[in-house]
């Protein structure tokens, strides 16, 4: 097949080889699922058989077009905006570590803000589709920004020397080396973005009150106790997400091959570290703490909403300290945090381990991993609220369900980034292991994983803020405890002071976790050298 050229990119269309055994595996998986559905093995039949879902889809098909159109358009616009900003900001932060520090809190906050807390505000501030687009964009921004930074930082120093050797400055190094080298990583960001944009758009429909969209359809269907309908909606959303995921994945795979160095570099060309003195560092730390609050304040002012709905930092402070109920509020917050934090920490670990296992599986048994992909995408594109019955029936309403939900919201971006890191390991390094007959496992442990350490840490940095979110979702959907429950009840009470306090608290904890991971990363990378 003739390769297709796009600028410096040369794509060699992979020949589609319909493999018999893959077909068999898919068939086997479907058969097991069918059996599980028919025999009501899982959650007493709350997991419907694929045939039942398909039949249902067939019956409902007339309902879908307007819903699908509404979700797809807003998700697509949000996807474009979120990723564009993610790439631009990732680049900016890659080149200005000071800016990165200053905006770190803001970035993590954007990533960690519970959708149920911000949607009502977005819905009130923005025109009808605005909230959906913004939520879809928010779903893409942080992962793409992170992936962009990781990609830009993992360039080969030899290429950079060449460009500098002809007088190229930072811009030329960026254009000719860092950016081309980062393209596969950026594409992995876009891969994560595809289901996230869809989910963002769907979640916004829960708070947006619009009539059209898969989310609206889902809400209407929730009360029907018909899992086959819910799963049908989920599968349609998953299929859309899968199209984006696969498209960027294929593009990424085609490019990774051409971006991967033939011979091993002697190190990685890390991005500049902030060259600051003591006072500079202090000022930066202060700025980093103040920046999110400043932006928060600005956003509150810009929203033009009354103080009852949107709280400035000062309002939240007053809510927590002044007035007769402040003490009770603080007690509830602390009590809830104490409930939420432990499973969150466990969730980070489990989420990363799950990501790692899947990435390893993708290496060791790529076909099996590919088989897992639809399931993974399903958990990303499907609002968890629709899966509540199956979640509570399978996992109960205790710690297990919290961990299950947390893993499902943390592992995916971590997995995609990690898999990309493993794919980008230079051939020369792989050959080294294979030349000594390394088992897949040894190759992974001794060569691929150490080579992908920057990606691994980026994966953990992505997982950490999401873990709190995951626990809160489970608390809100299933257990009725902790911060998630507090938030949900506060919404019912129009207790906006509490809503904001919970949001701020969860974000603070996320930022703290993120900083912890970053510090560990710094220590490891310093020890690791090159």
């Amino acid at each position: 097949m003739r390769p297709v050229r796009i600028g410096w990119v040369r794509l060699r269309p992979a020949r589609w080889k319909p493999s018999l055994s893959l077909t068999l595996e898919v068939a086997a998986a479907l058969a097991i699922w069918e059996l599980a559905g028919r025999m009501k093995w899982i959650a007493d039949g709350a997991l419907p058989a694929p045939s039942a879902i398909l039949v249902r889809l067939w019956i409902d098909w007339a309902d879908y077009p307007p819903h699908l159109a509404a979700t797809l358009t807003t998700a697509a616009v949000g996807f474009l905006i979120g990723n564009a900003i993610g790439i631009v900001c990732g680049t900016l932060f890659a080149f200005s570590p000071v800016a990165e520090r200053l905006f770190r809190g803001v970035n993590v906050a954007i990533f960690a803000l519970p959708a149920i807390a911000i949607v009502p505000v977005l819905v009130l501030t923005l025109p009808s589709d605005g909230a959906r687009i913004v939520l879809a964009a928010l779903g893409c921004y942080f992962t793409t920004m992170t992936a962009t930074m990781v990609g830009l930082a993992s360039a080969d120093p030899r290429g950079i020397d060449v460009v500098r050797g002809w007088g190229g400055g930072r811009a030329a190094v960026f254009r000719y080396v860092r950016l081309p080298a980062a393209v596969p990583a950026i594409l992995s960001g876009l891969q994560v973005g595809a289901p996230n944009a869809l989910l963002g758009s769907i979640l916004a429909e829960f708070g947006g009150g619009g009539r059209w969209g898969l989310g609206a359809y889902l809400i209407g269907s929730l009360g029907r106790a018909e899992p086959d309908r819910l799963w049908g909606i989920g599968l349609v959303a998953t299929a859309c997400a899968a199209v984006g995921y696969a498209a960027f994945g294929l593009l990424g795979r085609a490019l990774t091959g051409s971006v991967r160095a033939a011979t091993l570099p002697t190190g990685t060309a890390a991005l500049p570290a902030p060259a600051l003195g003591r006072s500079g560092r202090l000022a930066l730390a202060a700025g980093a703490v103040l920046m999110p609050f400043a932006l928060w304040w600005g956003a509150v002012a810009a929203s033009g909403l009354p103080a009852m709905l949107v709280k400035s930092p000062l309002d939240v402070f007053a809510y927590l300290t002044a007035g007769p109920r402040a003490e009770g509020v603080r007690e509830r917050l602390i009590g809830a945090l104490a409930e939420t934090l432990p499973p969150s920490l466990a969730g980070v670990a489990l989420g990363v381990v799950a990501a790692l296992l899947l990435a390893v599986l993708a290496e060791a048994a790529p076909r099996l991993a590919r088989l897992m992909m639809p399931l993974s995408l399903f958990t990303q594109a499907m609002p968890l609220v629709a899966l509540t019955p199956i979640l509570v029936l399978v996992f109960g309403r205790g710690t297990a369900v919290m961990l299950a939900v947390t893993v499902s919201v943390t592992f995916f971006p971590a997995y995609v980034l990690l898999a990309q890191g493993l794919a980008a390991v230079p051939q020369g390094a792989r050959d080294l292991g294979r030349a000594y007959g390394a088992s897949r496992w040894r190759e992974l442990r001794l060569i691929a994983l150490p080579a992908a350490v920057p990606h691994l840490f980026a994966a953990i940095r992505l997982a950490a803020p999401r873990a709190i979110l995951g626990v809160m979702i489970a608390e809100w959907l299933a257990t009725g405890t902790g911060l998630g429950n507090l938030l949900n009840r506060a919404r019912g009470m129009l207790d906006y002071g509490m809503i904001w306090s919970v949001a701020v608290l969860s974000v603070l904890v996320s930022v703290a976790l993120y900083e912890l991971v970053s510090a560990a990363e710094g220590a490891v990378m310093r020890r690791r050298g090159g």
Partner: protein, 294 residues
């Protein structure tokens, strides 16, 4: 006509059929109102739309509204009530029936987080310690109830029993209202500001809406089929479901004092019920003068 926007409390279903009838029959236009109808959803907080100025009028749950007035100093007035009796009830399977609050002891009850306080109040009113009932979150999906994962759920009795029947089971239920939690629902709420500036439109809205609801409830089976491809389109439910809903809600909406009415007796019951939840409702939060003009 002059613009008036209303924020509904849920997605487009039979709960709002009366307004659709009024709109399609031109009752609002006749009142000089150009109505902008905003649908709701599980995460839509109708009062928020009022505060933000996005809607002139909202259908709300009174406990929330009153709490906002008391705690946040929200400038709301309740000018009418769609449901004289809150349709919220405890729904269970006939095979494991829960027919009164006392049956809940030792059981697992799924409650929408918004309604937890109300349910706890209802339990206390009936001398049951809320600690004796295991309350878990409810997300409007009856599947856990059908599968026996929970024993009962708190939902609109106007709707869930139908769903359960469709799934081949039989449902029983009792209203929170009938066990002492005597509040309205879908209360018509406006801000004091709107009350001043758009009083005429609001009265017109009440009049037109009442007409629409009267028309709709004459025969609850008539209108839902007509809106199959308009108002209900895409809500994922069947017209049979909406007819059931429409029929079931009739006794909860109708009132000898006229639809939307808030009699002194009913207001007193609301204040009484809310006070048991610790919400200090006051008579002046209910403005019956507009209804009087209708």
């Amino acid at each position: 006509g002059s613009k008036l926007s209303m924020q509904a409390s849920w997605i487009n279903d039979a709960e709002f059929t009366g307004y659709v009838v009024a709109e399609t029959k031109g009752y609002y236009t006749a009142e000089g109102i150009d109505l902008d109808y905003l649908s709701g959803g599980p995460d839509v907080i109708p009062e928020g739309a009022l505060v933000a100025g996005k809607a002139d009028l909202a259908l709300t749950t009174p406990d929330t509204t009153v709490q906002a007035i008391v705690d946040q100093g929200a400038p709301f007035k309740i000018i009418g009530a769609q449901y004289q009796k809150n349709p919220l009830g405890v729904v269970s399977l006939a095979s494991k029936p829960i027919l009164a609050p006392k049956d809940l002891v030792g059981k697992t009850l799924a409650v929408p987080p918004v309604n937890v306080v109300s349910v706890e109040a209802m339990l206390k009113i009936n001398n049951i310690d809320p600690k004796d009932v295991k309350i878990v979150p409810y997300e409007y999906d009856p599947t856990p109830l059908l599968k026996g994962e929970i024993d009962a759920s708190v939902d609109f009795v106007t709707n869930v029993p139908y769903t359960i029947k469709m799934q081949g089971a039989e449902a029983v239920s009792f209203l929170l209202y009938d066990y002492g939690f005597t509040i309205f629902n879908d209360t018509v709420v406006v801000t004091e500001e709107t009350l001043k500036t758009k009083r005429k439109e609001l009265v017109g809205w009440l009049r037109a809406s009442r007409k629409g609801w009267v028309e709709n409830l004459k025969d609850p089976a008539v209108y839902p089929p007509l809106f199959k491809d308009t108002f209900y389109k895409g809500n994922g439910r069947t017209i049979a479901n909406e007819i059931y809903f429409n029929t079931a809600q009739k006794p909860l909406i109708e009132s000898p004092a006229g639809l939307f009415s808030m009699t002194e007796e009913a207001i007193a019951k609301n204040i009484e019920a809310l006070s048991r939840v610790g919400i200090k409702a006051k008579r002046e939060m209910f403005d019956t003068t507009l209804l009087a003009e209708v």
